[in-house]
Structure formats: C-alpha cells, structure tokens
Subunit: 157 residues, 2 copies
DNA sequence: CGATCATACTTGACGTGTCACATAAATCGG
DNA sequence: CCGATTTATGTGACACGTCAAGTATGATCG
C-alpha cells in the first residue's frame, strides 16, 4: 500500500481554478492572437517567431542549429517550417561555406517587409488581449511564474 | 499621422518578460505534461479532456454539441477527435433518439478504465510541473489572470 | 589511412487543429 | 403542408508538431 498505490493529492478548488484557467487561457488567447496575425499580415505565430528572430541577426541570416536553439524548437520542427516558409518566399536556404553539413537561412526581401508590416499590429494584439488586461503586479507575477516553472523544467531563463 | 499611422506602443522589458515567459512556459510545460500522460497512459491531453468530461456525465454519455460547448472546442475539432478516439475504442457514437440530427457520445468500458488509470498520474504531473512550483499567492494570481483575460475575450468563467 | 562515432540537417508517417464547405433534419412563416 | 432558414454534425484540404529513421559530412583515434 506504499508507493505506486498511494492515493493521489487531488487539486483543491483554488488549484483547479488556476489549472483550468491556464488551459482555457492558452486555448482562447493563442487562437485569438494567431487569428489577428493571420488576418492582418497573412502570417502564423510561428512565421512571426522565425522572421522576427532572423531579422534580429546581422545580415538577416543565421545557421539553422543556432536558430533552433534560440527559438527552443526541435531541429525537425524548424526544418519542416522552413520548408513551408521557403515555398512561400519568406526565407531562403543557403549552404554553409565552411561546413558542408551546415545550412544557413536568410530573410528574403518579402520576408523582411512581411515582418516590418506585421509587427505593429501584432504588438497591439498582444497588448489588447493580454498585457493591457493585466495589472502591473499581474504582469510581474506572470513573469515570475514562468521563471519558476521553466526553472523547474531545467530551462532557467 | 493619426489613426493607422500612429506609432505602436512597444512592450516594456517587464511586459516582454511576461509575454515571452508565457510563450515559453506554454511550449515547454504543455510538451512535458503531454509526454508524461502519453508515456504513463497512452493518452493525449485531448483524449484526457474528452474522457474526463464524459465520465463526469450521468451514464457517461453526452450530446456532441453539449460536449463541444463544455470543452470550448469547435464542433469540427471535436468531430475529428471523436473519429480518432472511436477508432481506438475509447468512445462510441450513438444516434439521438429524439432528434435525428443530434448524436450522442458514450464512454466504452475501455475508455472508462483508461481515464481511471490515467487520472492519478496526470494530477501528479500537473502538480509536479506547475501547481507545486507556485506559491499559493501565485496560484491565486494565475487564476485571476486567466479570469481577467478570458473575461476580456468574452468568455467569462 | 580507415573504421567509427558525432554532428547537422532532412524526411515520412501520423496525430492534431482550422477553415470552408457539405449534408441532413428540424422549424417556421405563409 | 411547403419552401426557406436554422441547427447539428461530418468531411477534405492543408498547416503544424513529434517521433523515429535516414543521409551526409566532419572529427577522432588506432
């Protein structure tokens, strides 16, 4: 009767409220922000992340592994996504000059204008649906919660 | 220079921390909890939600529209998912006796044992990676944030 | 040098979600 | 009762993510 058989500690009402609230928040907020971005700029959240990260680099280019690490994406995920974005002309792949295993992604001019046009509306959307709905204390608290949970998951900072 | 052309209010460092933290939290926490559930019980989060909601009903049966509303899922999403779960023997569809348009989903005995066996481990996983990492104040704060944001999205409670 | 291992990335299969559209039964106004 | 509309659900195409396996190049060590 010890170990695997012990009775689980079920969630208290307060804990259940936080857990279900988080799940519902995630479902609805993400859907809403994604839809705003798609309507306004024809981009998905993932497109935005890639473009924004890439445009922060010198020369708008980055190694694929480097990009994957910065985005915290699996290589597979990034590779699939770059294939899709490449088809739409937002980015281009080049081979690495020094290491033939490596590959480099660059922003096309279309990719550059897409992110420039998308950014203001996206920030406004994030403000409207999340940031401006919270009090300053809640903004800090959300940051703290994320830091604590990510730390626990071995992903500090 | 008024209206569409106004300069956007970019996010402050504190706001950026909350936003990026939320996104990273969502990516890693959800992946982790989903993997625990899949490893321990062979269920996805979505399977769990459907089974758990269904098992809370009298006779373990519910109308499809009713279920979609409770889960806050689109009808299409639920329909696709029920098709997959039906193939795996977790649920079954029946026709509604009074309204031939309607359909009823029921829990099979396999579905029932799946959720019963999965629940303790799932709660433990949610505790370990989220709930027990937060202080009681943070648990309340997360609930408050979710309530505020969902209210703003026209989804109070 | 050559076998072996590590590294960098790609690919295929499949589960999942959205959107737009299809289908069919109930309901309602005349 | 009949035709238009509304309600309840299903389907197909496609975007996205994971996992496992594949390919190819670089590095290491006898």
């Amino acid at each position: 009767m010890i170990g695997v058989m012990t009775e689980p500690r079920w969630l208290s009402p307060e804990e259940m409220r936080a857990w279900l609230g988080y799940r519902r928040l995630r479902n609805l907020l993400d859907a809403r922000i994604a839809r705003d971005l798609a309507d306004q700029a024809g981009l998905s959240d993932q497109d935005y992340d890639v473009l924004s990260n890439l445009s922060a680099h010198e020369d708008h280019r980055a190694g694929i592994g480097e990009l994957a690490k910065e985005l915290r994406w699996s290589h597979s995920r990034l590779s699939h996504h770059l294939t899709r974005m490449e088809k739409r002309g937002l980015v281009a792949r080049e081979s690495h000059p020094a290491d033939a295993r490596g590959a480099i992604v660059t922003l096309t001019s279309e990719g550059r204008s897409a992110i420039v046009e998308a950014a203001p509306g996206h920030v406004a959307s994030v403000r409207e649906h999340l940031i401006d709905v919270m009090t300053p204390e809640q903004v800090r608290s959300l940051g703290d919660i994320a830091e604590a949970v990510l730390g626990r998951l071995g992903e500090a900072r």
